[in-house]
């Protein structure tokens, strides 16, 4: 009878499965290539592809309107973290021009149970900056994202820096003008 009462917690299982699947992917990539820079690049690329498609889901789900400045964008990014990864990074360290900020978190579901081999240059969570870049590109914002601190490398928190580069203009497809 105990089996009926001890049903699995679907939300927890799915989040764990995501973590484990991502872990399996990263370790598979490391097995295939010696070069961790390549792995970082691949992970960023995967994140980018996901971000490009994720933005539509985000807009549909939140009915967000256009952001007029970077501070609003930062709020939306923070909201997306909460929505998709159930984590709450803090937005800090704004540059004086207001075009550059940091996302800081001390717990991320993706990097749970991860033990890094001694410093080998792997950016385990490279998926996240990729996804931010991809998603923002779809709303005409060109940004640059990079890690300043990484908990997996012994830093107290993970800090991701986001820098606004330029507004992308809608390009008219060739032959349409």
């Amino acid at each position: 009878m105990s089996r009926q009462t001890s049903r699995l917690d679907a939300k927890k299982v799915n989040s764990e499965l995501l973590t484990l699947t991502y872990g399996a992917l990263v370790s598979q990539m490391l097995k295939e290539t010696e070069n961790t820079e390549d792995v970082n690049k691949h992970l960023e690329r995967i994140g980018y592809n996901m971000g490009v498609r994720l933005i539509e889901d985000f807009l549909a789900r939140t009915t967000s309107t256009r952001c007029l400045e970077m501070r609003e964008t930062a709020d939306k990014i923070q909201q997306a973290f909460k929505l998709y990864l159930s984590m709450q990074p803090t937005v800090t360290s704004w540059s004086s021009a207001g075009d550059e900020f940091s996302l800081v978190w001390d717990h991320c579901p993706l990097s749970e149970w991860v033990e890094m081999p001694s410093n080998n240059g792997l950016k385990y969570c490279a998926l996240i900056p990729g996804a931010i870049r991809g998603a923002l590109q779809m709303v005409q914002l060109d940004v640059q994202c990079w890690f300043v601190q990484d908990q997996l490398k012994g830093d107290p928190v993970t800090e991701l820096r986001v820098k606004y580069l330029k507004r992308l203009e809608d390009a008219v497809p060739a032959g349409e003008d």
Binding site: S2, R3, S6, R7, L8, A10, K11, V13, N14, S15, E16, L17, L18, L20, T21, Y22, G23, A24, L25, S27, Q28, E32, H42, I46, N49, M50, R53, L54, D57, R61, L83, Y84, L85, S86
Partner: protein, 159 residues
């Protein structure tokens, strides 16, 4: 749930990654190599099963284990139960899902049928990995005859 989409996108990207890699080192084979996707499923399945069954009563026998996969396990991950479980009681199990999560977004016609194997490989690995953790060695294959229904064949390997 909002985070489901993350898993679905990651799943597609894993497939994408392994296909791109395959294209890069083209060695004349016609068939796409999905073993990487299957292996990622295996590794994830092996570990998740360890966590799921930690506080679960011991399974009575092999069939009981399969029932767990068809009901609780499947409901968690694929949002529904397996529709039909058949066995010949000699180590062959056929699990049929009439609306498999990773295939429901496809058109029901035959147009994309040739791509179906890509979207079931991860799950084959997931089942194989889960069973392996419960000390059942098996070979898992999938069969898609019409979208979005899918049959998983589990052949238990006895030594």
């Amino acid at each position: 749930m909002a985070d489901d989409i993350i898993f679905e996108l990651l799943h597609s990207e894993i497939i994408n990654y392994s296909i791109e890699k395959f294209k890069n080192n083209d060695n004349g084979e016609k068939e796409t190599d999905l073993s990487v996707v299957e292996y990622i499923g295996f590794a994830a399945g092996y570990k998740i099963m360890e966590r799921l069954t930690r506080e679960w009563p011991r399974f009575k026998d092999e069939l009981d284990t399969m029932k767990f996969i068809c009901t609780d396990f499947w409901t968690c991950i694929y949002k529904k139960q397996i529709d039909n479980l058949r066995t010949n009681h000699q180590g062959v199990y056929v699990l049929q899902d009439n609306a498999f999560r990773f295939l429901t977004n496809f058109s029901n016609g035959h147009q994309y049928l040739e791509y179906a194997p890509r979207y079931v490989a991860y799950t084959c690995g997931l089942i194989r990995g889960g069973l392996a953790n419960l000390c059942i060695n098996s070979i898992v294959t999938a069969e898609v005859q019409s979208m979005p229904s899918c049959k998983f064949h589990i052949h238990v390997q006895r030594t």
